[in-house]
């Protein structure tokens, strides 16, 4: 179209309006996404990965107890009742943040509360428990971190709920708070207990 024609003026404007509307819609969509992203960026644990283990049998393990290294402990030893497994390490700053919360919860004796000591030299772990208090019924020690891979653990703190049949029901990545216990852990536990009967 190297010859500017007088008649096509109208279709031209139509096309421009159409393109303008498309661009505007696209832009509004982008703004919407940006807004959503900003909103989400505030959410605690936004980087937490959903565990593929939920609803699946908990991975078997065979690890020594922190306080009695000669004694091995396996998943089978925990069958029959639900348990909560809390992954921690003396090297983990957030574990200290959640420590008062989980200590309070463990004291209620609502569920068996097991500690999973990850990649910690034994002395450090023992010293940490002595200093801040030991909320755990027992602590299993995974110094190499090899078993943690089977559980999809990628740091600490992480907390799992496993039901009486050994099925993983719930997982939380990051520090536990009172709200998370009340709104997520307890309901998941109640559901697991109700389904058992």
């Amino acid at each position: 179209m190297n010859q500017p024609a007088p008649a096509p003026k109208k279709p031209h404007t139509g096309a421009f309006v159409f393109a303008g509307v498309i661009i505007a819609l696209f832009f509004i969509g982008l703004m919407g996404l940006l807004y959503y992203g900003v909103q989400q960026s505030d959410r605690a644990g936004r980087d937490a990965l959903p565990s593929p283990l939920i609803g699946k049998p908990a991975p078997a393990f065979d690890l020594p107890l922190l306080h009695e290294p000669g004694k091995r402990f396996t998943l089978a030893d925990l069958r029959g009742q639900p348990f909560v497994m809390n992954v921690w390490g003396s090297w983990c700053p957030e574990c200290r943040v959640e420590h008062p919360v989980i200590s309070k919860f463990a004291l209620t004796k609502r569920v068996r509360f097991i500690g999973y000591n990850l990649k910690d030299p034994r002395e450090d772990a023992l010293r940490w428990l002595e200093q801040y208090g030991n909320p755990y019924l027992m602590v299993i020690a995974d110094e190499s971190g090899r078993t943690a891979i089977d559980w999809g653990i990628y740091g600490a703190p992480e907390t799992f709920l496993v039901d009486a049949k050994g099925i993983v029901r719930w997982k939380h990545v990051g520090a536990i708070t009172d709200e998370i216990i009340a709104e997520e852990l307890i309901p998941a536990l109640e559901k697991a207990e109700a389904e058992k009967r």
Partner: protein, 143 residues
């Protein structure tokens, strides 16, 4: 030293999810294995620093997972088996190229769909203009 340690802890404290560290270099059998290892880990995503590949990340878990990948390679596992192993534990997230499934089709075909939509719009505009142009053309034009 104490102060340094305290400073490090203060700096680390905003991390909601912490990592221990003990980097030890990996031992490869030969260069072929090393090449395969680097290719494979570049295709896997680090679960801790989610915008880095397993090959690039310096997070502790990335060290551990690299070691695990090498162990699995030494056991004669195929790339597919190693990826499956990680997906079973950490989820589809670890794959930079996830399988085509109900929740990933938009990821795979979204760009192509956008391109098609753009092409359709351009096609429409061009045709409209073309049609308008032909009608308006002066019959006396020489071309």
């Amino acid at each position: 030293m104490r102060i340094l340690l305290l400073l490090a802890m203060l700096l680390l404290s905003p991390l909601a999810h912490a990592q221990a560290s003990d980097p030890t270099p990996l031992q490869f059998r030969d260069t072929a294995q090393e090449t395969r290892f680097h290719q494979l880990t570049a295709e896997l995503r680090c679960v801790m620093c989610q915008n880095q590949s397993l090959a690039d990340s310096n997070a502790q878990i990335a060290h551990d997972l690299r070691r695990e990948v090498l162990d699995l390679m030494n056991q004669g596992k195929s790339d597919e088996e190693i990826k499956r192993f990680l997906v079973d534990r950490y989820g589809e997230f670890v794959l930079y190229k996830p399988d085509v499934a109900g929740n990933t089709w938009l990821l795979w075909f979204g760009p192509a769909l956008l391109l098609l939509a753009g092409a359709a719009i351009v096609f429409r505009i061009v045709r409209k203009r073309g049609a308008a142009g032909t009608v308006a053309n002066d019959d006396n034009q020489e071309w």
